[in-house]
Symmetry: D2
Subunit: 416 residues, 4 copies
């Protein structure tokens, strides 16, 4: 149970931090101010990629700060889950860093899926340009008409027609689908309706320009469109793709989803922890530099004790996530199910709490765009729902905990 990052990880970490501090942080405010001034809002067809981002991406790539999330030694940095974790935390300090390091969700998860399950042709066509940061991707799983917290509710249809698959269904919360360079979608639907609930679904690769794919609109997440990525509602109407676009095979959608989610949740949670550190720092700086009733805010009332509580909450969330990362490396994502569900509840809630308090310390400044706090709040709030809502993860943890008492439970059933 050694959480010490390897020397390679530490080297990447220190370089990533320097890069963020020296190259990304200084442009962040002006980047968002400019974005805001364009006032594109819902009109995603006008969204564009800032040359600032493109330049930084090139710079990061040439510095070797690129695809660090991918365990593959050739294609990525070959880091273990635990080794990547502190780097993910570092990127969470910046709203732009994940994209610039080509480590942005949902592309990371999609690349992992292609890396694990893709055929050579699929990899050549999609993984390669994704790894190069030339295109972007979206993941089309959640549906507006079903409670997607129960993934077996997913109802979109995949039917066969000769050499093709025909896809139908409405999806939403397809993050990144508004990006000008989004080219490939991973679609989840029912391929084997007669099978048991965990073998009914499949995943299929769908180029975004396939006829029948219509991006209907971009959704707000707490008022934010998250330009130029966006969260789209997208309809699939008789969309035909070759059978070669199927991932792994019919009925294997859940298998892919499980594989995708383990390390992805570590990334999300470590970014959330990095974001919480940033919010805490903003909060403290504000508390030191603003004065009311003759004292710096930070020394008023229970503010210092509050800082202590937040520090303890963040530190606990970090250790829990590092432990989950270590467990994934040690026992695989399935063996770390309890740990992964736990961090998925803990980390976003800690972030939400820290940001909420940071907002309060900022007063009016905290709720407007002058600070990144509402953006971080939106991230926290959405993360409590995405990838399984809190309640589902609590359910998993409880099931595993009660599993330790199986013989007692069985004995009770015997009685009853």
């Amino acid at each position: 149970m050694d959480f010490t990052p390897s020397p390679r990880s530490q080297d990447f970490l220190s370089r990533a931090r320097s890069f963020i501090e020296e190259s990304i942080a200084p442009i962040e405010e002006s980047y968002f101010t400019e974005l805001l001034s364009k006032n594109h809002g819902a009109d995603w067809t006008k969204w564009e990629v800032s040359p600032l981002i493109e330049d930084l991406k090139a710079k990061a790539r040439s510095a070797g700060l690129w695809n660090l999330f991918l365990p593959d030694k050739k294609l990525g940095a070959g880091l273990s889950t635990l080794d990547y974790a502190p780097i993910a935390e570092a990127t969470g300090h910046s709203l732009l860093a994940p994209e610039i390091f080509n480590c942005n969700a949902p592309d990371t998860g999609n690349m992992e899926v292609l890396w694990h399950c893709g055929t050579e042709e699929q990899k050549e066509a999609w993984l390669k340009p994704l790894l190069a940061g030339e295109i972007r991707s979206a993941f089309c799983m959640t549906e507006p008409d079903a409670a997607s917290s129960d993934a077996t509710n997913i109802a979109a249809a995949i039917t066969e027609d000769g050499d093709h698959l025909v896809l139908n269904g409405r999806k939403w919360w397809a993050t990144g689908i508004g990006h000008p360079r989004c080219r490939i979608l991973i679609f989840m639907g029912v391929s084997n309706p007669e099978a048991d609930r965990h073998h009914r679904h499949a995943m299929v690769l769908v180029p975004i320009e396939t006829p029948g794919v219509t991006v209907k609109r971009m959704l707000t997440a707490f008022g934010e469109y998250d330009e130029p990525y966006g969260h789209g509602e997208v309809w699939f109407e008789n969309v035909r793709v070759p059978k070669a676009n199927l991932l792994l095979g019919p009925g294997r959608g859940f298998e892919i989803a499980q594989m995708r989610l383990g390390p992805g949740r570590i990334h999300h949670c470590m970014r959330a922890i990095g974001a919480a550190e940033r919010a805490l720092e903003l909060m403290i700086r504000r508390g030191i530099t603003r004065t009311a009733f003759g004292k710096p805010l930070i020394n008023l009332g229970g503010n210092r004790e509050l800082i202590a509580d937040l520090r303890m909450a963040i530190d606990q969330a970090r250790l829990l996530t590092l432990h989950a990362a270590w467990k994934i490396d040690d026992a695989g994502a399935l063996g770390a199910m309890n740990e992964i569900s736990a961090i998925k509840v803990v980390a976003p809630n800690v972030l939400q709490r820290v940001v909420d308090e940071a907002i309060q310390m900022h007063g009016g400044a905290g709720v407007c765009h002058d600070f990144p706090l509402t953006a971080l709040f939106s991230m926290a709030r959405s993360l409590r729902i995405a990838d399984g809502p809190d309640a589902v993860h609590r359910g998993v943890i409880a099931r595993l905990e009660l599993g330790k008492y199986k013989s007692l439970i069985d004995a009770q059933h015997g009685k009853g």
Copy 2:
């Protein structure tokens, strides 16, 4: 301590509820969808008033559902604070109702100020058209460069120059200032720098078109511009107004602020409670109609107990607010200081909690514009800061509570 509304209040309440249900609720969704589709965003110069609203205002006025907040029997409905409270709650069920009934903040507070402190000329010029719903107003108190939680920090300057006052300062969070019909601002600044901290400020009426008044931008509140009202940053640079625009007199700004805040906080809090009821209703409806793991969401895990907790929290907040309203009527705003501070902490926090849980029950739908939940969240979150942040109100309550032990405290000082 009788919280029963008078027959007149009950009559207004039942008519207001019917009006909201029959005339406002049905158009709310399409109103906001249309607003969203205009995609005006930050460009407040394009903001416009929907004819839908104008029609409903006229209809409400002719139905006598107009200016119900104003205790004046001729100009308003002549209701006591307690009698108006349940009506304020009813309007909180709708994002549009307060405007339609001409009971929208900050105009209500501004009208109360004019009604209490205005000269006949001031009333004729500004109160009359405000009561007629023809113009709107803004309140310019908070400043970006000072922690406004301590109102004595307010630094904008009011100097005399012959028959005129000259105003200088930067203000923000001037709600309503983006409205196409906003005509009059109430400006707070330092008129008597040498006086004690509660007699240094004054309030002045400033027509928005006075030279030197510049609306610099609209601020977002949790990503929302709240078109067509907005929350503006506004600069006053050598703004000259006649001395006749002064309210009450030099050094009397705090006196006016106190008078303004008592009933206004009741209104805010009762609207928050109405909003919480709406969020709870949305939450329950969603929980009944969505299914996961073979059951309606509402029957999963601790959701029913959660509903119970929210019901108890709302009911307690309501009783506390009614009690504060009764106390204002009974003992005046000063005599109800503890009660007013208490509801100002309790009600927005209850709303924030209810909305947060309602969002969670909605999943992805909860964080986007398809439901009014993020708007209600923004309202709650902002309300915990506006009109004094939670910490300031807790401070007031503590001071009053400890005041009961004055002799013990004095005895300790004697010892020390």
Copy 3:
């Protein structure tokens, strides 16, 4: 919805407060010190009634501060539930006052049962001496072998044998059964096993000396035996009583339980609120008079804000309880089911929270017998379980809340 107590109630209240302050408070500490010094512990057969208590009872009775809980105008004070509520709160400031005013649970509930349901003979035999404070009583409902949170689990048997009833079963948490003057028990058991779950039980009067009744031991509640009352485990083995001892009739046990619980819960909750006020006062006094790091504790860290939070919590709990009392008077206990369940959750939890914080402010002194804080904690903690645990009351509130959406729920069932 008028919570103002009647003039008679106010008169009783002010006299009760004076009596507590002048006659009870001064002897409380020495009473408990003496009790502690006797070191009787679990040996309840040695428990005795202090002459101090007997004297004060006589004094209270002659002052007319006696049986104030009973709505009967002849036998009690004829106060409504609402009118008695503030008096119950006042008695909660003192651990001894309820007994001294003959308003102590469970005797109050038992007297109400006899008053409502007793025959003339039953009243003559038991209600009369109870009202005179000459004897005490216990309520035997909870069983060690069943989850009594679901009262239909109660399994003790009542069978007929000629003119007699024969009782068998094990009971515990029979409060007051250790009192030297405890003479009469109310026993609940299954009389009609074939009936539906709410008509299977009956209640029977059992003189404590009836053969077959064995008090096995006294239970601790958070380490306290609560001498000289106690909480007993009592076994009923072939206990024979005349049929005339049956209350109301076979199968009517739940009906009696419901009737008993409504006002009783108001009393419990108001006493809890009074106890919370006392704990808050102790906390503040301690915080003012102890110094650390150069300041009175009360001014350190977030202690003042904490005081504010507790003040708000107590005030909300009081208003909620007064409202429930008003509702009982207005709509009967059944019509106030939501309100009664709500206060039963809220008030004990508020008390527990206040006491927990008061203990913290006292440091080591708070956890020992030098202050009444652990006794108050025990009261709070037990009250969250007695009379239905929190979860059961939350369940009731949720059921009533969801009942408002019956047509929507039915429509969903239609779909499914």
Copy 4:
């Protein structure tokens, strides 16, 4: 940052667990039942050591499960703080194990003090019999007349008189002082009143039978006397001891206290975590085996989600404590100040929360002596006060956190 225990630690751990399970757990219930039946209560002069305990101590000692806390390789097991941590957790599952393994507070801390600071004579006289488990000791620091949360408040006096020291003062919460074999006290008092606040105190060894030492009474902790150890109030009146009894030297009391507290807090917290695991297990077993409303309690309402929350809280507290232990080994107690303060807040609060919920799941059984839950609650509640109350530790954490912003704070001071 490797939390994996060494092979030696794992060996001790597995043997300690087996010993507890096979030898201690089976006698625990009867041990406490017998103790209770003796009904000694406050009369500590009758307290005695059960032969059961003596036998188990001998057995544990011969099994090598003895003095495992002591880092000394000869006298103890030579385990690092991190290596001892899981063993401390294991002992927390049992109320008796710490004593049986000779790892009970406050003796562990006192032995560490003697080991670190004692002269050869002091060690021979007191450390040797303590390590042999032949005698017991108490720590006399806290005073009834001062807020001991600020340790500089400690006012007891140490004056010189020739070759002797003369001690005067009142102490309380001297845990273990009621034990029949308690022989030696460590007394803290002011030796250098003129020095700065952290160099004014000294510690002195005082044999309990020294004239002038009077144990006045035993204090209850949440109603428990914790026989045969007890928490005593003890007066020192002109107590004369040779100067050779001084530890380290005049003015070095704080230095000793700091040294004593680091590892001791790890022990306390890990035991608290073990206790929390035990409470959780009891809670789950109760929830599985009791039925209400047709279901096992564990499947009602939010109980499963609650189990998940408690599991997450415990796991986080454990990781935080292991990290603090690792930090002590890595950077010394001073270098781990933030981490030590954090666990001191987190672990007892987690234990209190888990026990409170476990009590609730048990209903009435949870608050009486039939289960160890109130004893565990008392442990948690006292631990939030002992060794520095929560607020003091939050203060330390905040100070260290704000220390990271020193230059910003200095810049503000420059401005002001």
